[in-house]
Symmetry: C2
Subunit: 295 residues, 2 copies
């Protein structure tokens, strides 16, 4: 397996995901504006890293099946809800996301809040409604998702990030924010792939370790790209964290220090994969893909 | 059973609920402000109609057990999240709720959004983590909750309500809003009580019918109280819907017409209960309790 093969996997499965994701929402019987607001953000593109990671984790144990897509779509709904709420004027106050006006710029704040609420709720409905999965596994997925997305996970990370704005954070505080704000939902994605692929219990700890390290790699790379990246490719202004006086890895560790840390965590992630009993070649390639991405 | 006995049930179980509800949140490991914001609204009082209805529905089949409280707390978390988000400046823009400053007035808009998000997510975690319940029943509860709370339920109702502000609505549109905005989560509460109490399948349709009618009774009474109620007892200004030019039952049907409609739906609710095989005396008393409440 090589980066080229991973890219083939990504473009095939991204396409499959992007066909199914809006289909869950189009059939909703609800006020039109609400549905449009949900679809707008779900269809706004993006790398689809979380659902693709989930499918790559499944693929370490068996071929991807139809029900896997549903869980992958659910995690993308949760990610999309978090972006809509994070972009609100009272939060990060972003006007653009992926080069397009943010949800509240198009539908107003009230509908942006509601579209986010509805996407989060829909994710739990999608998983609980899956016919192909045993109740026991559905409950495992729902519990993991709720923990990863809630006060002790993603929402907690966003709260800590807001509190930290304009302050000088320690490396420990910065890692807390990233572990939760970005890392927990990435971890869920990989762990969910393990649950769906019925990974042996022994594997699950390694999968969690891999996911945690990969989450850090993802975030450090994000901070580096914020300095070095191309605004057009990234869909947001390079240096925007700098403007907002946000604590970042390059700020705390210098740019070279951040790059070194990126390599350390990428190596740790690879190390965890060595202990996995399945065939996690795609996951390994994901490490390179994330380390070397330019947007 | 009489209203007095129902009141004894309510004060006993309300107390038990209000001990357990904050306990789920106090042990969260998350940023302090987020936890305080969640606790503030959860501890802000209220009638606790939804969890009490759930326990009354359980009591129609067997005595209340510890795990029932957890599901009852979960529905109160979802209700509390919806109040926090509905009160936001971009939504109903309310400064007071139950006589206290609303969440965003105390913690700011960003934390109000996040506290709501975290409460919604926690509700799903609480149900999925219940050890005493079989996975199959947990999945039933989660699916019902997600449907009732999401785009086709409560969030859809709030969206329709926002769109309808300042417009003359038909009775059909007003009923759509109330069925979803208030009715669906009330219905969930009763249905969840039936699931927890392992009501026979035959009963579930009658329970749903009862819950739907009771939701309408609740909302019509709310509209009547908005005109006739005592501001201090209600914790918000009487006539506030009138000021905001909201469509209400008295506006569409006259005050007498609304009172007549209240009686019709209360009778329908009673009729459904007659077909239930359990012993739904508390549920029957709930109809009187809601019809005759003064706040």
């Amino acid at each position: 397996m090589s980066i080229t093969e991973l890219q083939a996997f990504i473009s095939q499965f991204k396409n499959e995901l992007e066909k199914r994701l809006p289909a869950f929402l189009e059939k909703l019987e609800c006020p039109d504006t609400l549905k449009e607001a949900m679809l707008y953000s779900v269809n706004a593109g993006g790398k689809r890293v979380r659902p693709l990671l989930m499918l790559a984790a499944v693929q370490s144990y068996r071929n991807v099946e139809e029900s896997d897509y549903a869980v992958a779509c659910a995690v993308e709904m949760v990610h999309t809800y978090s972006l809509i709420h994070d972009d609100l004027p009272s939060m990060d106050d972003d006007d653009y996301r992926r080069g397009k006006p943010t949800n509240h710029k198009v539908f107003g704040e009230a509908f942006a809040v509601l579209a986010g609420d509805a996407l989060l709720t829909k994710a739990f409905e999608v998983i609980s409604s899956l016919k192909e999965l045993e109740s026991h596994n559905k409950i495992l997925l729902i519990r993991e998702l709720a923990k990863s997305a809630g006060a002790e996970g993603m929402v907690g990370g966003q709260a800590a990030d807001l509190e930290g704005e304009g302050k000088d954070l320690s490396l420990e505080q910065l890692e807390y924010i990233h572990h939760h704000k970005t890392g927990d939902l990435l971890s869920f994605s990989v762990v969910a792939g393990g649950i769906l692929g019925e990974a042996p219990d022994n594997d699950m700890d390694y999968i969690r370790g891999f996911a945690r390290e990969l989450g850090l790699v993802f975030q450090i790379k994000d901070d580096i790209l914020d300095i070095e990246g191309d605004s057009i490719e990234m869909g947001k202004a390079a240096g925007s964290d700098e403007c907002r006086e946000k604590s970042t890895y390059p700020r705390l560790l210098t740019l070279d220090g951040a790059k070194e840390k990126l390599i350390t965590h990428a190596d740790n992630a690879k190390e965890y994969l060595r202990s996995v009993s399945g065939n996690p070649l795609l996951l390994e390639d994901f490490i390179h893909y994330i380390t070397e991405r330019t947007k």
